[in-house]
């Protein structure tokens, strides 16, 4: 069970917003890079976020470049999951690969600053502030298994290969 507050963002938050290119020289120093996460959208984000909080966004979260530093520094900032109406493909896959859940749901029903409780196993989100109960979209089995191992590196260390049990 994950618990924290909602920090809301709009649609089309790109990886350039999440990790501005001008800080790319810090890519091999992730804790330092994380201090700049999302600063071009919300300069107060890094001072407001607390361990366990959720990014609650609109559609197409994470569009743009393949930089995996984007989900990595969101996780390093303390965020426990991203809730969005939809997510860009590479970002979604990268986030799962670094053990950061991305949950697709109707985020209009969540208010900024609301206290949330997320049950990953049950697939439910409860907004404790306004009482809304949401479900999130199914994560493909292969990705769920990677997420269950907290990312692709531990998954590969455990299994040595991709284990696909069903094609669908």
């Amino acid at each position: 069970m994950l618990r924290g507050k909602a920090l809301k963002f709009g649609d089309n938050i790109s990886t350039d917003h999440i990790q501005p290119g001008r800080y790319s020289y810090l890519r091999s120093n992730l804790p330092e890079l994380a201090k700049h996460v999302l600063e071009d959208v919300d300069p107060t984000f890094i001072s407001r976020v607390r361990k366990g909080d959720f990014i609650v966004a609109g559609s197409n979260f994470g569009l743009g470049s393949s930089r995996e530093h984007a989900p990595l520094i969101i996780g390093l900032a303390g965020v426990s999951a991203i809730l969005a109406k939809s997510a860009a493909r590479i970002f979604f896959r990268n986030a799962i690969n670094v053990g950061l859940p991305v949950l697709i749901c109707d985020t209009d029903r969540i208010g900024d600053g609301d206290e949330l409780e997320v049950d990953l196993a049950a697939g439910t989100i409860v907004d404790l502030t306004n009482g809304a109960r949401l479900t999130f979209g199914k994560i493909p089995e292969v990705m769920l298994n990677i997420l269950n191992e907290c990312g692709l590196v531990p998954y590969i260390k455990k299994y040595g290969d991709f284990i696909i049990t069903s094609r669908g």
Binding site: S28, N29, L63, S65, S66, E68, V142, G168
Partner: protein
């Protein structure tokens, strides 16, 4: 069991089925070997770290693994120089290929020297999709996925649904492949093709050069697409043959009865010069709607539009003229080969005489690290593929995307201008 005829395949279904050795359809999850794995200097250090964290010490296929030093080339900081050292050492130790500073942008070098029709190419860069112009299923992944593929020589894919883009009619003079793809992205939106394959066909597409196809394939990711595919035809064959890579060609067409998520029809003859306005690629408008907007910097280059024909059209417009005194013109050939050919053709001299600044082959200012970072409030008209806030290094600046012809015309007048007026 009745003998059921296999359903017709899209290009994506055909390539993934043939490579994985099983008949797959859209929505299936499949593990497939890959023909080429690469990373660039912005993503390779993390891929190497993850590769080592898994306990791997050798590459599945060193000859089909390439590291490109192109995003920070040459580097502006010691941290990035140290990243380059790490990459060079790793390539040396593992036998991977290295495309060092000055060789050019990964996607251009891959088109010139590596991609073949029917190949599966994965790279730690979102514009990996560019190689779809040659009929390669090419897609961008993150560093950890690439780390695993370096060691295992394969990865998993969800077979994408496909959208068929049927283009008919001839482009007007002064209107280019760039205007067509900007129009398409504006029409379907920045998530209009998320998780899907955009598959291009029709007489206009058949008549396009490989360079034009590369421009279009390069930008499919700006509509969220996983890949953008062109059939492999005589044009592809001639391109590969001319590069001594005839063996990399095989004909590739979708089945006539393939199933598409939807079909989009575009009348190329009706298209006008387009721009994407700040700060989103799908925020498109015709040049007519924004003409007169002052520009302090014009940037011609990138994996979208830094090829020989792009420099040629810019030269046509700028030869014997001078850039506007309030406008800097930065020109970055996409590869060493493009630069050499542009020197031989006289384009570089003509552009220099017009006032251009020639930068070394690479990504230059596109990713906001170096070589053309904008000042507060400045406007850049760029032939690149992205204009997100802060993309070129300053969140207080503004980027418009357009074709090389529009860029050159705007460099002359110092404001966004329709190239058809002077061509």
């Amino acid at each position: 069991m009745a003998n059921v005829k296999a359903m017709g395949r899209t290009l994506a279904e055909r390539i993934l089925s043939e490579k994985a050795g099983i008949d797959v359809k859209a929505g299936d999850i499949v593990v497939s070997p890959v023909d080429l794995v690469f990373a660039q200097d912005g993503t390779a250090p993390l891929a190497i770290k993850q590769f080592l964290a898994c306990g791997f010490d050798r590459l599945a296929n060193p000859a089909a693994t390439i590291f490109f030093l192109d995003h920070n080339a040459p580097t502006p900081t010691k941290e990035l120089s140290n990243d380059h050292l790490l990459i060079r050492d790793f390539a040396g130790q593992t036998g991977a290929r290295l495309s060092d500073v000055g060789e050019g942008i990964c996607h251009q070098v891959i088109a010139e020297s590596h991609a073949g029709s029917g190949d599966i190419i994965i790279g730690a860069d979102s514009h990996t999709v560019t190689a779809g112009a040659l009929g390669a299923f090419a897609t961008g992944l993150g560093s950890t996925d690439i780390a695993i593929a370096l060691a295992l020589g394969k990865t998993w894919f969800r077979v994408p649904q496909s959208i068929k883009v049927l283009v008919s009619g001839g482009l007007q003079k002064g209107v280019s492949a760039k205007d067509l793809i900007l129009y398409l992205i504006g029409k379907i939106g920045a998530d209009g093709a998320t998780y899907m394959s955009l598959e291009f066909c029709g007489e206009t597409v058949e008549n396009m050069t490989i360079s034009q196809r590369l421009t279009i394939a390069n930008m499919v990711v700006e509509a969220g697409a996983k890949t953008g595919l062109f059939p492999a035809d005589e044009t592809s064959r001639n391109y590969l043959m001319s590069r001594g890579r005839g063996h990399s060609y095989r004909p590739l067409q979708p089945d006539p009865d393939a199933t598409y998520e939807r079909i989009i029809e575009i009348d190329a003859a009706s298209l006008e010069p387009m721009v994407a306005k700040p700060h989103a690629v799908d925020n498109t408008a015709s040049v007519a709607e924004v003409k007169g907007t002052k520009v302090q910097q014009v940037f011609i280059g990138t994996c979208t539009n830094g090829r020989l024909d792009d420099l040629e059209v810019a030269t046509e417009i700028l030869k014997g003229r001078k850039c506007h005194p309030n406008t800097r013109l930065l020109v970055t050939p996409a590869s060493r080969e493009v630069l050499i050919e542009a020197v031989k053709a006289g384009h570089i001299q003509a552009l220099l005489e017009a006032g251009a600044i020639i930068l070394p082959p690479g990504c230059a200012g596109c990713v906001g690290v170096h070589q053309g970072i904008l000042g507060d409030g400045e406007v850049c008209l760029s032939t690149a593929n992205r204009n997100f806030k802060g993309r070129m290094g300053n969140p207080n600046s503004f980027i418009y995307l357009a074709s090389p012809a529009t860029a050159a015309a705007s460099a002359l007048s110092g404001e966004i201008s329709d190239p058809r007026r002077i061509m």
